[in-house]
């Protein structure tokens, strides 16, 4: 062995003994993870946690001085875990902020919908109150008109409605269909009642029981038309009232009197009041 070879071997041995550990794969991985975390939500939302993770990375870097790769790897592993935890906490902060924003929007939307619903409710209450006042006034007018009518006319509340019966003699000469002046006055008050009621009505002329049946039916038909036309002329709307053709058998019974037998009668039937759906109470009569 030459002297030169001995010197080379000695040099190689010395350099191997002083070899310096510069990094490990795990430490490289930790460095990359930290670089990546600096660009993510952890930097903005959990900087303190990321700074703590950096301290652990520094400790791992310092481990290189020991020359022990296992120690460096263990410390790098801890640094990686700390970095990942900081990232998770950063995402958590962002999610919590997002949740809070959504809950605020939810509360605002709920309040807005509640306000709108309350406004609608208030408007509806006002409308209902107006309707109730108008209905009460109409019922009061109807009651007054009925009271006036009841002084001179028979009014009955039957299942088919309110029936106003006028003896034929109060409206017509016997065997005629022209209205008497006094009959017009009575019918004017009937018209006032019908207008107050604002419900559908029909005119039925009951034929006299005496005399020719055929002629009596024809006369009754004319009388019903005449009465209906007069009521329309007095302001009852044409759609509200119709004249019904007479039937061969009386639709309802009449008092057993010669007047009815000789000159028949006219019934004006006002349909029953509909049941209310609102909060107002029914007076119990049409």
């Amino acid at each position: 062995m030459t002297r030169t070879t001995l010197l080379l071997l000695l040099g190689a041995t010395l350099s191997a003994g002083c070899a310096h550990l510069t990094s490990t794969d795990r430490l490289d991985e930790a460095r990359v993870a930290y670089e990546k975390a600096q660009q993510g939500p952890a930097a903005a939302s959990s900087p303190a946690d990321l700074a703590t993770a950096k301290k652990f990375l520094d400790v791992a870097e310092k481990g290189l001085e020991t020359g022990d790769p296992r120690l460096v790897d263990d410390r790098a592993t801890i640094a990686i875990l700390k970095i990942q935890a900081a990232e998770a906490l950063g995402r958590t902060h962002e999610l919590a902020a997002e949740r809070d924003r959504t809950l605020q929007a939810l509360a605002a939307t709920r309040q807005q919908l509640l306000d709108e619903a309350q406004q609608k409710l208030a408007l509806t209450r006002v409308e209902l109150e107006k309707e109730k006042v108008a209905r009460d006034a109409a019922e009061a007018r109807l009651g007054e008109a009925r009271a006036v009518l009841a002084r001179e006319t028979e009014i009955r509340d039957l299942s088919e409605g309110t029936v106003i019966t006028l003896p034929g003699g109060q409206l017509f000469h016997q065997g005629r269909a022209d209205l008497l002046p006094s009959g017009r006055d009575r019918l004017s008050r009937v018209a006032d009642f019908l207008k107050s009621a604002s419900r559908s009505a029909r005119v039925q002329a009951q034929p006299p029981s005496k005399g020719s049946r055929k002629a009596a039916l024809a006369l009754s038909g004319k009388r019903a038309e005449r009465v209906r036309d007069f009521l329309v002329g007095e302001g009852v709307t044409a759609r509200q009232i119709i004249a019904e053709p007479p039937t061969r058998t009386p639709t309802r019974t009449f008092p057993d009197s010669p007047e009815y037998a000789a000159n028949g009668a006219v019934d004006i039937v006002l349909e029953p009041a509909r049941a209310r759906t609102g909060g107002a109470t029914s007076p119990g009569r049409p």
Binding site: S46, R70, I78, R99, T102, L103, T109, R110
Partner: protein, 130 residues
């Protein structure tokens, strides 16, 4: 003769002493962190569950290797603690995600069909990141 006997006793004592026990404080910290992760529901979050189990395994491994490598075992306890902390953070993230999704769902439901009388939900995670 006396010197020889004393030396033999010391040598025998050293041979019987074995490895030192795991550092009690590090073991306690790691185990406490594992318990904290369990309590917050890490078992129910898939990612958190993985790290929680890893922490348990690492503690077991530290106990097993303590005799041969006490320094390495002590470092393993620190790794276990960090693993449990990560499990804890991931579990909290999952909670926050669920709450954010639920809040979005409630807002969408309100906008599509308002139920203004429904009660407000109670919060769980509440920005509880540590």
């Amino acid at each position: 003769m006396r010197r020889w006997a004393a030396g033999a006793l010391v040598a025998f004592g050293c041979a019987c002493a074995g490895a030192p026990p795991l550092p009690a404080d590090r073991l306690a910290q790691a185990e406490a962190e594992v318990r904290a992760a369990q309590e917050i529901g890490a078992e129910r979050a898939p990612q958190a569950k993985v790290h929680l189990q890893a922490a348990r395994d690492t503690i077991t491994n530290a106990r097993e290797t303590n005799t041969d490598d006490p320094e390495g075992a002590a470092r393993k306890l620190e790794i276990a603690r960090a693993q449990a902390e990560l499990a804890n953070a991931l579990a909290r993230e999952q909670l926050a995600r669920t709450e954010a999704e639920q809040a979005h769902a409630r807002l969408d439901a309100l906008r599509s069909g308002p139920d203004v009388l429904a009660p407000e939900p109670t919060r769980n995670a509440g920005g509880t990141a540590r």
